[in-house]
């Protein structure tokens, strides 16, 4: 293609038009499909022609050709000119010819400027080059790539020889370290990920500059920058060479296109350009993947490869001295037969590799050791791992030991995301999560996300680790999470359903179920994982778009989340997901909104008793209260008995309850010796509520809680809140806060007496709740009005409390419903130790802390399922009886309500 380009006759001065003509011809060839190499070579040849012509013109008359040579440097020296690249020139001269050199440089430079070139130039002697090249690494780099254009060839040869001997072969270590540092600064400026959505094709990570870095390092260390030469001596694999050529060709072609179109040195691949180039190159929009996304996926695949190969190559070049290798290996210690640990690396001796990596679990073990010892895997090992991994069948990673290692890596603590990223680099992650292979380098074409899907997922894990260390609510909740492996796994796959037509949360849900199966997770773990992936946007949608001061909103959210355990995970997951979108996206503003929703929801789900409170402060406080009560009541009640009761009193209650109330409870309890049941009623005019406190002994009367709620329902009272305290010797204090719709101005004494007496007669067994309810049927009490019903949700949660099984019930409110629920709990042979009954709007959210008769948690999965099904069925039956015409709104919460949750 190049031969057809017109060659200009020498001797005629170059004009802008002539230059543009040649450049247009190259552009046309590029547009017809000539390769990146062809184009940069043609552009270099064009510049060469111009400079040689100009040089010849200058020397046509007066000067002798000896003593001055025109040298191309940098990218131009490498013959890699893009359409509007700068041209780096050096006029090298022998000291005697300085005047000539200056004259010829001035003449040539003026013409070049007039032609519109951006020129970098210098006028130097060989001695200058030597001294500057020693101290200034930028000049040193440019000079390494010197190429003779015109003039005194002997002088140029002399320069090359002395420069190699005295400069470029010296202090290679320093030089490479410096270039690497320089490059890292550029990363800081142009993006430290290869997955920027608008990358700078030259300077962003994985871009052309990384290819240059590899070439410079090779030149300095091995005196060649040819990929093939490096491969011949085993420094690059054949696969590396092919990947580097492909990437270079791709980048060159893209960059040429950018320059030709913008008519200037435009190196940023902007969104507009991505769309244009993708269209130009024949990418077609597919239903689930835009043309531009396909194009950029190619881009990222190239940049990832370049980045991997370069960083490996450079660190190899830096630490290859024999002495250093000795130091690195001497103190090595062997672990588990195959693994050698040194000060900063983990390796497997080459002789052992075939044997070691015949099993998938050992590859996993390698990463696990690297994580727990904080050591990086040796470069040469990383280089061959992708092939080792690919050589193994799928089932090699499905044995118990591989799964355990993978879950252990996910659990941490520490370096979880680093280790996962390293596993992704060698294509190991996709052996556990096949979908990870398809989202590799998949971009999300919007201005919001800054990273590709796989990077975003990995970054989310690292954000969780980082946020988890903070001294904040979020940090605390992260640390409280007992299953960090599941949390990290959920983060790792949360967006994995992207890039397809269907809603990515729904696809993600299926993938999560599949991953859970591969990893052999149990039902409970599977449910949690699937929930977190399916609803990973629920909390941000609720916190940022709904009014979390509205109880209805909090309730609906609580109902969907179900348990404190799931809520804690979702909170951290949401924050980490937002933080992984890009720097500066997770603001204090967002943190506050999420935190508020978290706290409010947690109160709904954890109920009155705080699960597992281990605060020393709280314990101290409880101890102080005990002491105060003893001192104030000690003269009136028997010390021994007081002490025993106070010891049995849960710390959480003691610290939260006013001392006066505790004293009142104790004084009433002391009177129980004379009666089996005592009822105390207090009306609070400010709140419009009445507290009925019932003192009795559980031992004598089974199912107290359910019976009291039945009486109150029969009397037409609405239960707002209920608390149960079980104390020493089976003494029970039940406090019911009720509202009395029949007595809006407060219950008169006879009403209070009626309710209290009814409680006593029922508890003493003289009348049944059923009889009372029968009697209470009122004329014309229809329960229509609300057109839709929320589905009933029952959750059995064994994770949030060490001593109790927690039952969460969400249902529509109906007079008497609490009785139905508590009766079911009683019939199931469970004993309620604490409860929080809350009625909000037309919804009840009831939390019961229960144990079996022996006082233990209900660990048997079958029994948990039975509990769930029984309570749900009783509620449905009751609601169906009282109201048959209201349709149930079904949401996609099926997998959460289908069965009980067990651990």
């Amino acid at each position: 293609m190049l031969e057809v380009l017109l060659k200009r006759a020498p001797g005629v001065p170059w004009t802008r038009d002539a230059l543009e003509g040649r450049r247009q011809a190259i552009a046309a060839a590029h547009a017809r499909g000539s390769s990146g190499v062809e184009t940069v070579t043609a552009l270099t040849a064009l510049a060469d022609d111009i400079l040689r012509d100009l040089y010849a013109l200058e020397y046509a008359g007066t000067f002798s050709p000896a003593g001055v040579v025109l040298v191309a440097l940098g990218g131009y020296g490498r013959r890699e000119l893009a359409p509007y690249s700068d041209i780096d020139l050096m006029f090298l001269y022998e000291p005697l010819h300085e005047r000539e050199a200056r004259a010829v440089s001035a003449a040539i430079l003026h013409v070049l400027w007039d032609l519109g070139f951006q020129v970098g130039h210098s006028v130097r002697t060989i001695a200058d080059c030597r001294s500057m090249g020693r101290t200034d690494f930028t000049i040193r780099t440019a000079l390494m790539e010197a190429r003779c254009l015109a003039g005194d060839q002997a002088l140029f040869d002399e320069f090359t020889r002395t420069y190699r001997e005295q400069v470029s072969g010296k202090r290679v270590q320093d030089y490479v370290a410096h270039k690497l540092g320089e490059r890292q600064q550029e990363y800081g400026k142009y993006g430290s990920t290869n997955f920027l959505l608008e990358p700078n094709i030259k300077k962003s990570r994985g871009g052309l500059r990384d290819l240059h870095l590899l070439k410079w390092t090779a030149l300095a260390r091995y005196e060649t920058s040819s990929f093939e030469d490096l491969s011949a001596v085993g420094l690059l694999s054949a696969g590396d060479v092919a990947a580097l050529w492909d990437a270079q060709e791709f980048f060159w072609r893209v960059r040429n296109e950018l320059h030709f179109f913008a008519l200037r040195a435009q190196d940023i691949v902007t969104f507009d350009e991505q769309i244009r180039v993708a269209g130009l190159w024949g990418f077609k929009d597919l239903p689930h993947l835009l043309a531009v996304e396909q194009f950029m996926q190619q881009y990222y695949r190239h940049s990832t490869r370049v980045c991997d190969i370069t960083s490996r190559f450079v660190s190899q070049a830096m630490y290859r001295s024999v002495w250093q290798r000795l130091v690195a290996w001497l103190p090595a210690r062997r672990v588990e037969r195959y693994f050698e640990l040194t000060k900063d690396e983990i390796a497997v001796p080459p002789d052992f590799r075939d044997e070691a990596f015949s099993e998938g679990s050992r590859i996993l073990r390698l990463f696990q050791l690297s994580q727990s010892y904080g050591l990086v895997i040796a470069d040469d090992l990383v280089q061959e791992l992708p092939e080792r991994v690919a050589a193994l069948p799928d089932k090699a990673f499905r044995d118990e030991s591989s799964r355990r290692s993978f879950l252990a890596i996910l659990a941490g603590p520490g370096r979880v995301s680093d280790t996962l990223a390293a596993m992704h680099q060698v294509s190991l992650l996709e052996r556990f999560i096949p979908a990870f292979g398809t989202v590799r380098g998949l971009m999300q074409f919007n201005a919001y996300h800054k990273y590709t899907v796989d990077q975003h997922n990995l970054l989310a894990v690292s954000q969780a680790e980082e946020l988890g260390g903070a001294n904040s609510l979020l940090g605390r909740v992260y640390r409280e999470n007992k299953r960090k492996d599941l949390l990290h796994l959920a983060l790792l796959i949360h967006d994995i359903g992207k890039g397809q037509e269907e809603d990515h949360s729904v696809i993600g849900e299926r993938i999560a179920a599949d991953v859970a199966e591969r990893l052999g997770l149990d039902d409970h773990e599977t449910q949690l994982l699937v929930f977190l992936v399916r609803y990973h946007l629920l909390m941000s949608n609720t916190a940022f778009r709904r009014d979390s001061s509205d109880e209805k909103v909090v309730l609906r959210f609580a109902r969907q989340v179900g348990t404190p355990e799931a809520l804690k995970m979702l909170f951290v997951l949401t924050a980490a997901d937002v933080a992984a979108v890009g720097p500066g996206v997770f603001t204090r503003w967002k943190e506050t909104l999420l935190g508020e929703l978290f706290i409010k929801t947690h109160k709904e789900l954890a109920g009155g008793e705080e699960a597992e409170t281990t605060y020393e402060g709280l314990l101290d406080q409880a101890q102080e209260v005990r002491q105060a009560v003893l001192e104030r009541l000690g003269h009136r009640l028997p010390q021994e008995w007081l002490r025993k009761q106070l010891e049995a009193w849960p710390d959480q209650y003691l610290s939260a309850m006013p001392v006066e109330r505790i004293m009142t409870h104790l004084e009433w309890l002391a009177k129980l010796a004379d009666a089996s049941v005592l009822v105390d009623a207090q009306h609070d005019p400010a709140l419009g509520t009445t507290d009925y406190t019932v003192y009795t002994q559980e031992r004598i009367i089974p199912g107290i809680f359910s019976k009291i709620s039945g009486v109150l329902a029969a009397k037409g009272l609405q239960i707002l809140d209920a608390q149960i305290l079980t104390l020493a010797d089976g003494m029970v204090v039940d406090v019911f806060r009720v509202q009395d719709p029949d007595c809006p101005d407060g219950p008169p004494p006879h009403r209070i007496r009626d309710v209290s007496e009814s409680i006593v007669v029922v508890l003493e067994g003289q009348r049944s709740v059923e009889a009372l309810l029968q009697e209470a049927n009122r004329f014309g009490q229809s329960r229509q009005g609300v057109p839709l019903r929320e589905p009933t949700v029952v959750q059995v949660d064994n994770d949030s409390s060490a001593r109790y099984t927690i039952i969460d019930v969400f249902a529509d409110d109906r007079q008497g419903l609490l009785y139905v629920i508590t009766r079911a709990i009683f019939d199931l042979g469970l004993s309620v130790h604490a409860a929080r009954i809350a009625t909000r709007l037309d919804q009840v959210v009831d939390v019961f802390y229960v144990t079996d008769q022996a006082g233990g948690k209900i660990d048997d999965p079958g029994r948990c399922t039975l509990i769930n099904e029984t309570i749900t069925a009783r509620i449905e039956e009751y609601l169906g009886q009282t109201q048959t015409t209201r349709p149930v709104v079904h949401r996609a919460t099926v997998q959460r309500k289908s069965s009980g949750i067990q651990s």
Partner: protein, 112 residues
């Protein structure tokens, strides 16, 4: 021209934005802000530890409109951003001297 700044509850943004767009307001600047007014922040307790929310998260909307649209915009913001409970926010209105569209150099109403 009037510049109207409204501090509203975050979840109201979408609703307010839609209503203003319908009114013919074509541009607006939105930012996440934190602050307090008479509400003075509040405290939330989680398992025995109190977390003070000193600065309440709000959303700030800024729009610049021609004079005759100003009242309508204010009225619309009030209607859509109101929940009736504490912390609904505030609207600030000020006169604006000049507006310039950077690309074309157009000024005044034509720049909006």
């Amino acid at each position: 021209m009037k510049k109207i700044e409204a501090i509203i509850k975050p979840f109201k943004l979408e609703e307010v934005k839609d209503a203003l767009t319908e009114l013919g307001v074509y541009g607006m600047t939105v930012s996440e802000v934190r602050g307090f007014g008479r509400q003075k922040g509040h405290k939330e307790a989680y398992r025995g530890t109190e977390y003070t929310i000193e600065f309440v998260p709000k959303t700030k909307i800024e729009v610049v409109v021609v004079d005759k649209l100003a009242d309508k915009v204010i009225e619309t913001i009030i209607r859509t951003a109101k929940t009736g409970s504490i912390g609904d926010g505030k609207i600030f209105v000020s006169n604006l001297d000049e507006a310039v569209r950077i690309r074309t150099g157009e000024t005044g109403d034509r720049a909006l």
